[in-house]
Symmetry: C2
Subunit: 459 residues, 2 copies
């Protein structure tokens, strides 16, 4: 275990030091201190500490290669027959119902031509011009809402099939409610996808064809915000600092050194990112996609990624690892337009956040977006829609409830309510009704947030 923590070289150093006794004890002591500091959920902004935590906790999650739950291929048998099969008593009983009765299999997907290289679609080279022309002809669909606020489409989704386990869909439902709330407050539209547009790009890769399709269909969108279904908003008051990204086209949570120097497979996270609607982004999607096509290509690409990236386990190519690889090997081409953001939690790994909610409530307030009050809590590895997760089911679901309530409290307080506790579905009143409701101010100013007011402007 030591050499996993601190490198092979150091192990030999320690072996030499053992012969010197005192130095040995000192080194061991330091190791324990560092590990403790790490497990204690280190300070925000210290990549190494966050990293060790992340790596130790999410090794297996990528291994199972089913992180996004966006789309899965169906292997359903056609059992849908006539109603008489049900006895009259059981016919209306959902508990006795076998869902396979209504699953429909439309046959296999068409096999792609193995000699034809994969493509997301016909090459477009003048998207910026096409977009500009369209915008000038369609002033009613401006790219900007107000002076500094771009038009944003938040994209998420899940499988069209019911979750394999009974509880998964309930958490998908809570998750989309959570997103609806944040987006309503921040003037962001939502696209919830439940269609597999390209059978070759199933699983975590499915977002690529979807994103491309949405960008080129909606020139009015300035930024597309992809967000996994297992990620939740936990800071309802935090507005993304759009101005910061005026010269960037692609924003992910991550650390430059982890990606460009270390090629660490979790140096960035593709579970929540911003992508500008422009030619550069279409080119990026084209460059990103080649490792995606399932089967031999994806498997072989996975081996390359495991070999080339730091700490990556063995499994088929995933979109996140592929992005690390792409950026690390082609920094000159893409790097100047990529912003690896770590000043706030555009993606926040749940393992280091959820036990601190009470502490956050005690010491901080919404609007910070960072380790003090994370914008996003992302339940990587929990996989409540599947059969098996990488963590204890009880811990995952409990914490997802807590994260949901943590965010929901910020919505409820607008109306004078709050959850009885972070573990409880029940709510209680915390502000009395009056005959002059418009004089009441919600503490967070979320009732009529400034970032939502539409300023009259000539389009």
């Amino acid at each position: 275990m030591l050499d996993r923590c601190i490198g092979t070289h150091r192990v030999r150093q320690i072996q030499r030091a053992i012969r010197h006794g005192k130095i040995t004890l000192l080194c061991l002591f330091m190791t324990v201190v560092v590990l403790r500091g790490t497990i204690g959920a280190g300070k925000f902004g210290t990549p190494e500490q966050d990293f060790n935590d992340l790596r130790n906790h999410i090794y297996a999650s990528r291994k199972h290669a089913e992180p996004h739950r966006v789309l899965t291929e169906s292997n359903q048998s056609n059992n849908s027959k006539n109603d008489e099969a049900n006895s009259a008593g059981d016919a209306n009983n959902y508990a006795a119902f076998d869902i396979n009765k209504i699953l429909v299999d439309e046959g296999e997907d068409e096999k792609p031509d193995p000699n034809k290289p994969y493509s997301l679609g016909p090459k477009i080279s003048d998207w910026d011009e096409q977009r500009a022309k369209w915008s000038s002809e369609n002033p009613g669909f401006s790219n900007f809402i107000g002076a500094n606020k771009p038009r944003v489409l938040l994209v998420t989704g899940s499988s069209p099939k019911p979750c394999e386990n009974p509880i998964g869909d309930h958490y998908l439902l809570k998750s989309i409610k959570n997103k609806i709330d944040y987006c309503r407050l921040h003037g962001i539209e939502i696209f919830y996808n439940m269609a597999l547009l390209d059978a070759e790009m199933a699983g975590f890769w499915a977002k690529l064809p979807l994103i491309r399709k949405l960008l080129i269909s909606h020139p009015e969108i300035e930024f597309l915000w992809w967000m996994d279904s297992d990620a939740m908003f936990t800071d309802m008051a935090f507005e993304v600092p759009w101005e910061r990204y005026k010269d960037s086209n692609f924003v992910m949570h991550g650390w430059n050194e982890m990606v460009y120097d270390q090629k660490n497979w979790i140096g960035l996270n593709t579970g929540s990112f911003l992508l500008r609607n422009c030619q550069w982004s279409l080119d990026l999607l084209d460059a990103w996609s080649p490792m995606g096509p399932k089967g031999k290509i994806r498997d072989e690409a996975g081996k390359v990624l495991t070999r080339e990236l730091k700490n990556r386990p063995v499994f088929e190519a995933d979109d996140q690892s592929a992005m690390v690889y792409l950026l690390a090997t082609q920094r000159d081409k893409w790097g100047d337009k990529v912003y690896l953001e770590n000043a706030y939690y555009l993606h926040g790994y749940w393992g280091i956040l959820v036990d601190r909610y009470e502490e956050m409530i005690e010491n901080y307030h919404p609007g910070l977006g960072d380790h003090r009050w994370p914008l996003v809590t992302h339940f990587v590895g929990c996989k409540p829609c599947g059969k098996f997760g990488d963590y204890s089911v009880e811990r995952c679901l409990k914490q997802m409830d807590r994260a949901f309530n943590f965010g929901d409290n910020q919505i409820l307080q607008i109306y004078g309510f709050t959850h009885k506790s972070l573990a409880s579905r029940r709510v209680k009143r915390v502000r009395n009704e009056t005959g002059n409701p418009l004089e009441a101010k919600d503490e967070l100013g979320l009732l009529h947030p400034a970032f939502k007011a539409v300023k009259a402007s000539a389009s």
Copy 2:
């Protein structure tokens, strides 16, 4: 059965006629013809025919008194203990997980004072003035988006508890995706409620405190659109004719004669309605609520409603029956501001619609909103979230899938896709990609619909 169809008097007539032979046969023949015409799903716009269908099919649904699935009281025991209870193997296995491990019961709700009459909140008498003042001070939150389009908030919701049966949450998820799609196209915001704000007004009555709270918190809203979680949009192109309602404050699907003349308990439907944000509406909510408080009041009110309304079964007071009763008995007070709409399906009973989808596709097109292409298909009585529905589970779920796909196809066609069939989750491409995506027009004009364009206007 005869006297149920045609009245007690006629039965005696028939009994006399039996002695005359020929007349007997003639009457029996007429009865059969009328019934056949009814079961054949009569013409739209003929209340009697729709009514007999509705009544025969949904008698039991109200009886079970759990139609909306918005909020239910929880009687959960606190079984949530520590993680060690799970064996290491089962700990990550969702299939082996007992959800009761994480359910939290925060104790009973406070008992309301039995001597205090129920109230939705402190009386407000100058809401129009308060609202007007606020609007003038907050020009960034106009009541109208564009010339003729009011700001609308669509409100829906479901229980914070997982559904009792495994499949219910999946259909809630599909239902909210469906609403997200419609509302995105039509510039409508969504509020998804999962909180029981007032324990006394649980069940179908829970929408009243919620609606009141949202109206008085959001003066910028011009119309609140309540929609049940078991109702789905099936016409994505249909824009509500807002102009038609400029002198109305409350719009429900229904028939004047059924409500005012017959006092028929299903003369209108409160599963999908529009309520203007104004003093009149606050007063209406106050007048509507007295039958709601659970327990003795609701039970006794239920008996009154069964007695007073036509065809109502015996069960506790529900909001819909109460509204029929309120309007029928106080027409002078409320009638002039209530619009009972039947020119399109603001609410469309699923039983007479779902078998006709293929016929609709063959003969008509989206944008009609009526019997030819219903705006809303409402699965009254199906109750997929509960244990028992009033209809065969297989029929309900199959039809809900079809309705979902019927609506979803209108979204997918924007992007050049469609479901392989109304029964299939899979999609197929129907329009090829090109290098000039902005020249492609989607047939329905939903890509950049006119009703969504924001016209520059001075606020």
